[in-house]
Symmetry: C2
Subunit: 393 residues, 2 copies
């Protein structure tokens, strides 16, 4: 069941940004979508819209589809009983984070975030005149981990909001219950609103599990905005559809009072229909995808281990993202991302954009066919070995 | 060429809100989408997406498609040379209006608007704590018209923004150049930003024409945000895609400074692809649709004339909306909309929601097949004649 794998000729014919930002000799592993065909239920939902030819005002914006499908899925997979009446549809995760920062803080307020972090988190803080409260993840030799004492020390009196990314982009960590409990404790003690981006919750590898922050207790739940979407797991980011769930009526009311109705726009029928189909019917596809991703994850880890200490890497618990510290590669003064683009013709996301701790790193998207991944890793290895490779000098 | 007309059985099977808000014995003529199949180029654009199965991050969000298609269409049809670099994609018109009110005014500021008006205009003012500056359209016996002296008198020192709807919803007016020049003069003299909703620009009947406000001169252009969309003319509102065009860099910079990047979300590939296909390739479909709409408009006008003075009506210059003043119908203390829903089983939009001047009115959407329109008008006529009809007493 790997009929979702697409050959490189098909990928290069696609119209998306991943395969077209760079030249045809470049293998792209930067932006985070998958080189896989969508699940049959998603295809069917889109085909149904074409057959019906009905793109009028929907009866299914938010209300009677998306919110229940989300609630059912969260209950069945993560034991989270949420209130479907407090689900607000949004176009995308970044909109949801930006809106939360605007709604729950004032200019100058501190917003805590675990770095390195997906760059739009930092942009949502910087771009709204809020203040970064940086809580770096700590490499304990096994993984990048939340350090509860570090978080407590970082959160000052002017901090109002904590942006949690779990599973974490770019580290791939699915934080353990103990780490999340520490976050929840700080949030409650310091009276923070928490925005929990959990869009990678379905992409967790065997041996790890996703813990929904809002399940840790009523106190943290009431102050938590959970953001989720099918676009990441089911590979439909171009359809623009996600959800925010507010953990209490009070939190939702604060949000609504701060942001006028309709300012955020409304989601389209294609996004809603694809999302509902994905969440309700496409799990077998995702199970098959996860088998490929698991093998790819292991392959990247083995490849990185063979290149240590030029490359340092902890295999991710979740996500199809490999965070590679290239601090041991002699990149001739270039950023690692530029080095690999130039020498390997592989396009990666530059770690420098992910804030403190990311300067020597790149983020590699391994959601592609094993053959393409092999070619891409081979090119990167060649560039590393062809450079003034400290470990081989 | 009327293969876009859909029989009632097909319409009742659709999943949209128009045909499902009320019971199966009700004929809906309320929300403003059309009971017509979409144009073949739009169908093809959607089918292409299904065939490609590619819903990854697009290269075509805003940039390389929507903005140029909009610019080319405005140039070719209305002689408007706009700057494609100042086009910002949005989900919908209401989002664009709300965002403009937030960006260009402060709470308490006055926002001028011609009433009666599409209710979300009023909601954007009321819901953001701004102040309605009401400039009623004046019935000159032929039509509802802008009264320049009325507008000058209404705009006070605290007024910062003028929301223009042209062609106008619900009156169906395509304002004449002289009326628009009066608006432009007031805007320049009083230093107002103008938000011109021109989404009905393609739905103008023979004998009238659409004048783009921003073509009236550089002074008014520089202070005008023009809002447009293919969703109304080409019947794809469920796909959520529109554009804002800013008449000067300064205006765009003010907007961007007021609203953080990504707060408004991003548009999806289906909306972009459908819009580009509609604007570039679907004009023959729209020409054929306009023939049906013209006949329907004339039929409604003749029907209303035969029912005068119970019904007062001016045939619209544009839009598929008939604004019917039912002040002469004895509705037994009910609102006209409730009267027709109850007695005729026809669902209309209540004029009371359109602000001052709308209390005795209903808005009727006549974008349906002539057979359905006939049935609907017959039902309404029956209700009127069956009531205590003053003109017949």
């Amino acid at each position: 069941m790997t009929d979702f794998l697409l050959p490189i000729e098909t990928l290069r014919r696609r119209r998306g940004v991943k395969w077209h930002r760079y030249g045809p000799d470049v293998l792209p592993a930067w932006i985070a979508d998958m080189d896989f065909a969508v699940a049959e239920p998603v295809r069917r939902a889109m085909a149904r819209l074409v057959e019906e030819g009905d793109y009028g005002y929907a009866a299914r914006e938010g209300g009677d589809g998306l919110d229940r499908a989300f609630a059912d899925r969260m209950r069945d997979r993560f034991g989270w009983e949420l209130d479907a009446g407090r689900v607000v549809p949004v176009a995308d995760l970044v909109q949801a984070i930006t809106a939360s920062v605007v709604a729950f803080t004032e200019p100058g307020d501190g917003v805590a975030v675990q770095t390195p972090i997906y760059p739009p988190f930092l942009a949502a803080i910087d771009g709204t005149g809020r203040r970064r409260v940086v809580d770096p993840l700590v490499d304990d030799g096994r993984r990048l981990a939340i350090d509860p004492r570090g978080l407590e020390a970082a959160v000052d009196a002017g901090t109002r909001l904590l942006l949690l990314c779990n599973p974490h982009n770019p580290s791939g960590r699915a934080f353990e219950r103990e780490e999340l409990e520490a976050v929840a404790r700080v949030a409650v003690e310091r009276d923070l609103v928490v925005v929990a981006d959990e869009v990678h919750c379905d992409l967790v590898y065997p041996g790890s599990r996703h813990v929904v922050l809002a399940t840790l207790g009523p106190e943290v739940a009431a102050r938590t905005v959970t953001i989720n979407s099918a676009t990441k797991s089911f590979n439909v980011p171009g359809l623009r559809c996600g959800v925010m769930h507010f953990g209490s009526d009070a939190l939702l009311e604060r949000f609504r009072a701060a942001l006028p109705g309709r300012l955020l726009g409304t989601v389209g029928v294609t996004g809603v229909d694809a999302t509902v189909a994905a969440w309700r019917e496409a799990q077998p596809w995702l199970d098959a995808v996860m088998e490929v991703l698991t093998a790819n994850r292991d392959r990247v880890a083995a490849w990185a281990a063979a290149l240590a200490p030029a490359i340092r890497h902890h295999a991710p618990d979740a996500t199809y993202l490999a965070w590679l510290d290239c601090g041991g590669v002699a990149v001739d003064g270039a950023r690692p991302r530029d080095f690999f683009l130039e020498r390997a013709r592989v396009a990666l996301h530059s770690g420098a954009e992910f804030g403190p701790g990311g300067e020597t790193c790149v983020r590699l998207n391994f959601a592609t066919s094993p053959a393409i991944l092999e070619e891409l890793l081979g090119r990167m290895e060649g560039a590393i070995r062809g450079s003034v490779y400290p470990a081989r000098r």
